[in-house]
Subunit: 463 residues, 4 copies
Amino acid sequence: MVGFTKKEHQFLSELGLAPRNPGSFVNGIWKGSGPVVSSLNPANNQVIAEVVEASLEDYEEGMQACAGATRIWMQIPAPKRGEIVRQIGDALRGKLHELGRLVSLEMGKILPEGIGEVQEIIDMCDYAVGLSRQLNGSIIPSERPNHMMMEVWNPLGIVGVITAFNFPCAVLGWNACIALVCGNSVVWKGAPTTPLVTIAMTKIIASVLEKNNLPGAIFTAFCGGAEVGQALAADTRVPLVSFTGSTKVGLAVQQKVNERFGKSLLELSGNNAIIVMDDADIQLAVRSVLFAAVGTAGQRCTTCRRLLLHESIYQTVLDQLIEVYKQVRIGDPLEKGTLLGPLHTSASKENFVKGIQAIKSQGGKIVTGGSAVLESEGNFVQPTIVEISPSAPVVKEELFGPVLYVMKFQTLKEAIEINNSVPQGLSSSIFTRRPEIIFKWIGPVGSDCGIVNVNIFLQMVLK
Amino acid sequence: MVGFTKKEHQFLSELGLAPRNPGSFVNGIWKGSGPVVSSLNPANNQVIAEVVEASLEDYEEGMQACAGATRIWMQIPAPKRGEIVRQIGDALRGKLHELGRLVSLEMGKILPEGIGEVQEIIDMCDYAVGLSRQLNGSIIPSERPNHMMMEVWNPLGIVGVITAFNFPCAVLGWNACIALVCGNSVVWKGAPTTPLVTIAMTKIIASVLEKNNLPGAIFTAFCGGAEVGQALAADTRVPLVSFTGSTKVGLAVQQKVNERFGKSLLELSGNNAIIVMDDADIQLAVRSVLFAAVGTAGQRCTTCRRLLLHESIYQTVLDQLIEVYKQVRIGDPLEKGTLLGPLHTSASKENFVKGIQAIKSQGGKIVTGGSAVLESEGNFVQPTIVEISPSAPVVKEELFGPVLYVMKFQTLKEAIEINNSVPQGLSSSIFTRRPEIIFKWIGPVGSDCGIVNVNIFLQMVLK
Amino acid sequence: MVGFTKKEHQFLSELGLAPRNPGSFVNGIWKGSGPVVSSLNPANNQVIAEVVEASLEDYEEGMQACAGATRIWMQIPAPKRGEIVRQIGDALRGKLHELGRLVSLEMGKILPEGIGEVQEIIDMCDYAVGLSRQLNGSIIPSERPNHMMMEVWNPLGIVGVITAFNFPCAVLGWNACIALVCGNSVVWKGAPTTPLVTIAMTKIIASVLEKNNLPGAIFTAFCGGAEVGQALAADTRVPLVSFTGSTKVGLAVQQKVNERFGKSLLELSGNNAIIVMDDADIQLAVRSVLFAAVGTAGQRCTTCRRLLLHESIYQTVLDQLIEVYKQVRIGDPLEKGTLLGPLHTSASKENFVKGIQAIKSQGGKIVTGGSAVLESEGNFVQPTIVEISPSAPVVKEELFGPVLYVMKFQTLKEAIEINNSVPQGLSSSIFTRRPEIIFKWIGPVGSDCGIVNVNIFLQMVLK
Amino acid sequence: MVGFTKKEHQFLSELGLAPRNPGSFVNGIWKGSGPVVSSLNPANNQVIAEVVEASLEDYEEGMQACAGATRIWMQIPAPKRGEIVRQIGDALRGKLHELGRLVSLEMGKILPEGIGEVQEIIDMCDYAVGLSRQLNGSIIPSERPNHMMMEVWNPLGIVGVITAFNFPCAVLGWNACIALVCGNSVVWKGAPTTPLVTIAMTKIIASVLEKNNLPGAIFTAFCGGAEVGQALAADTRVPLVSFTGSTKVGLAVQQKVNERFGKSLLELSGNNAIIVMDDADIQLAVRSVLFAAVGTAGQRCTTCRRLLLHESIYQTVLDQLIEVYKQVRIGDPLEKGTLLGPLHTSASKENFVKGIQAIKSQGGKIVTGGSAVLESEGNFVQPTIVEISPSAPVVKEELFGPVLYVMKFQTLKEAIEINNSVPQGLSSSIFTRRPEIIFKWIGPVGSDCGIVNVNIFLQMVLK
């Protein structure tokens, strides 16, 4: 076996990676008969390693093995399944820094975020272990004598998980930890541009299954693109498909899965606003907005994209924001002190540039930033603030980069209306000190989002 | 106002019905500008009364009023909403016999089933009243100091409910009782062939809203067909659409609703089996099968369509069943002693005749019944038992009438495989005395249905 | 049967009461072989009617019948038991005004409070009906193969309920509604000074049992004093005894019940504080304090007895309170406009007078009120405000009347310490607008009470 | 430091034990100023090591430090507390065999039971870690507009845990794991005769606290006897006292704790029956009875003490039992193959001898066993089967040793009555194949025990 030539890639060996890697984990064996792809470092667009993707034959072989393994796995008592997940958590603890570093290297997010992403899976394992003794059914009183009703939770069977580049392993963790303790096998298709994370993560899980003499097919993984994703969506052996990614692809997956009366679980776009009221703690708000808008280079579904400022503090907040934006250190995500790494791909960078043009053409005023970093070979762009009208069409879209739209409002009612005026509504936040505003904000006529924050933004909760 | 000429229809006046009725309850007012349709008595195909269906203009007017009323309703405290639902339950108690009689007259099910259907809504009201003080959110410990997480349940807004002819009001009750206490308005489209039940039921609910000075638009109802149903499915003002009916239409509704990322709640076909093991209480099993297969003339989604008999008791059970089938009294559903009323429409009757032909052509052997009742003007057919192979294509379909397919098996494993071999899987039942069989049956490798009975069938639980 | 001579007592006939009444409901029959007592009107100390209390023979006969009835009741399906409780709720609705009037007449609280108390039982019935279909057990995953664990809720058997004068029927309602749907029989000993409420309430419940052909012994009631209470506490046939009353008696009941490893449920004293911070809505606070301290003549366990005012608003709040106290209308509780009725007994009045003396001797300064109303034959006293040190011994006791101790503090920490410095800690409240204070107040180092309010006091929630 | 002279005690050094050990863990420091006691090996009554017990001065010092540490601990976020408990679980994993061996050596149970007991704490840790993110409060809908109700779980403060010799560490684990994640400090008094387990267990927990820079006083432990136990029961700084042990002492603890309105959690005696019906799987039943009656030398609270056999299989089961009892290997609990170790103390052995005399004097017939093993220096006795009448007084008591009373019955009703005829009722079991018997057994007129088994007995679940 030939090792990595670049010194900074040598830690990959400890994750079981090589310069060229088969990308299908099928029936407990690594193989791959699809196209060969290169994984690129977003900070310089150089090759890290190569991966042989899954072909449809690999897919079919994997699914058949998985279906068989599922019958075994679902009959193991839940607390015993929990013990396996506990061991997965411990195996991840042992590789926390290596896997976190790989996430940072291949995805482009800064190192603390890379490590934080892996830590989140570890936390999920701990949580799922506890759940493995609490998957309680119910015994419900019947209105008939000598009759009882029970609600019993049986495993679904196989759970398909399709994940996106921006959280190349945490999202798998959320889905897989719960699916596994519940008695389901997992079939994972990672993002096409982060195959090394997919392989490294799978190897850690596979090692635990092997140590416990369990079929490797309980966890089946494929590196690949749309072809494998479509096969999963259409596969009647997969009663539940979890998809994370764009709204457009997510809609297609959903319709395909539902057509066969499968269940789908979608994590799609977000177009998230922060409202700053006149009585807010300005310092706290500014710091929160910075991390919410610039963290992960604006490539989180919970990234703050819209900032709604009460007119009375509009200029103050904006001025302070411009100040802190100027101090944001752009650079190699693995270097200490970097706050803003590259966008994930060169296509993302082009998309950013096009987005800025659209913003300008729709009346948006660039307050700071607004350009790609031309001198670099990587996919770097500037953190950007834009003053714009809430009704500009670009504001309703999700430009996946560090671009923040700033708007002014006069009343809480108006702010809530702007917050609720986009189709994506995922996360939202208000900064205020008044209880009556807080309770209105979280109530039936408040934010229409699923995540409704007060005096905080989800900077550390991933995706 | 002109009353009903036939004596047996005069009780309809007490439900607020007239020989001709506007079929849209829009913003608290009855109107209708769509086509005029006749409601027919399935026992003789004569007109009961006429209804003016909703036009798309009526629909739009109703939805706008409903959207406005929703903002009021969702801000009323949940226990106060519960009090309204309690009053609806009491109003239904006051009309139990009249409304039950109308269900029987218009739908064709026997009177005890008609009254039972209304009683079920009353029970739902009681249950929902209790829930109105228990719509609890959660306070979840955060890993961050000075931070707390809350899960709060806000109303969705408007809940659309599309119901089928076979349970013309109970299904509305299930959906509406819960939707209302949760703070949602309800928009109901009843089945095209049971408009009188739709109107009578709506009048009862409307009277309670009026007495409490609440906007009538909180409960909006339309008599009509596919046009209104499609409008509901596509309407972005309706975040949740509940649909009960055929798999074909249900699939179309689901895809339309999901396309706009709405939520759908579907109650579709069933192809339900009863397994009788060698150690079963035969008498109990035979009685259960009779009611499960013949009740509501086989037009329940939970009707037993397949009977799987262990070879050792096959002939005994079959002989006893034929005996009890011969004693089934067919006739006017309102008459005391009738066990089997007519099918709902003359099209259903034709469908039954075609189904029998298909059965025969696929090797099915008619053991008893098998014909329509020709001498009647109503839609009567004979209760029918068929011996047939589990692999015959008709067995995998849902023939909506009193036709029971009988099959033989040797082992539990085989019986479970046959049970799980149809695509519809809704309800299922086993008759046995052995605990180890019971627990296998309800476990991960047992029945794949949502309803898994033991020594009982869902004869009285509707739909 | 001889009726009531006084016109204002004639409504009692509608509750089934007579000038002389047997006070034991034993095996479905009214009897009484104990001492004869008079029920007095606290507003004038005149006799309303007489009651023959239960003897220990009556008690024993009642318990034997109850034990037998319990075996029947506990085997009735829970939803059917819920239907009985629903009918009890409806029977109470039919007597709401009569029973509320009797509560007011016999206990002395003002009429809206009397009616409110009955309404609360009606609400409890509605709630319990809902619960009757939700007494869910659990099915818990086992770590062993082919093993399942279930948590099933069986009835306890007989639940004993001992209630106090201040809420002569609501407390019974809280306990009995839940006990009954859970499949337990109820044995009630009402307060010795409110026997007419005990009888009237029991008659309403008994009528429902009778109408449903259920044994009357499912609900067994005794008018009587300590002797019957002690018998209940010691009775091994009663696995759970609920007691509401003084701490002293409650402690004795608890020790007696626990000695036989029975369960006890105690609602004892309260010494409840309201904290008003410097940023509070003063008007809201003053209004809340008034009702919290003067309502039910200070004879609620949740009565506000201590008012902690931030030094910066101390004098303002105190001045406004004195102003509103002067406008409190004292008088016949049945008369419209009365805010403060009499204390319950002449002994309570004497106790009030002694309490004032103790206050003065410990340095308390009477700011308003402080005397009994001498000119009346009833048990009237003045609403009283006292400035006093938090360390005075009387402040740590529960003087059961309309006496409010006012104290000054400088910091939140100090206010919480004073709040937590009494042994009784039941309810507490803070008035402030700052979220950080609210969350500290309800957190681990905040109020040590079970009820922790913010910007409200429990004026309408009884007991 | 002087080590252990006997070779078989040298593993104790790895648990941090020495020939003489201070027995109080106070404010993070080991000390002891009470009497010196010797820990004896029940298999030979020789000294293992000495312990200096806690004095009341040690107690007071420990409680003051604990009270201070509690304020810190309760403000740490619950998931962070869960992380500490996870580390405790991992520390126990690292010492599983050493600690299990010590349990076996000092308590006298066989090694697999000793290790099983420690494993149970590890499982509890895993479970508690999961709970640390699920200590959810509730948000309850209010009937008032603009009002919400929350149920929030705050820590109690200090939880006192008094444990018994038979499970010298598992019971601590059950209590402490939950108490700690909930934010409470723990004060532990172990059994007087198992001080080495108390010290070794505490050292493991203390090491985790120290590694995380947390105050050691969060976990405070005392070796000692009644004096410390009484101090804990009376201590108002301890809102909850958990006690495991005899009914007599438990009652005294309860009354003392409740006197100050503290909460007590009691695990006391058990007098557990197994019912074998005529249709039972005899082989399964015999094997279960053997382990249930002889395991832990009959010193579990869940030990089977009464065997109720249907008359039709009475002699068959009894004969088979006698056969297997003869094969029980008695001996050193640390030796492989031993099934029955010694009783815990020489007093237990004397008590066994006295018990056999009482049995004989009350008409009991010794079928097998019945003697102490005289030739040994340890506390060994024979596994014993007795035929006796259910009404003999000894049958209602709990003789803490391997003595099984066998009785005959004719009907299920009779068997349930015998099962329910003792005052202790903790666990119970039936062996049958009929579902209708199973559901009667677990229903309202079935077993009156908290643990109601079917076709199994709690052989591996400790205590």
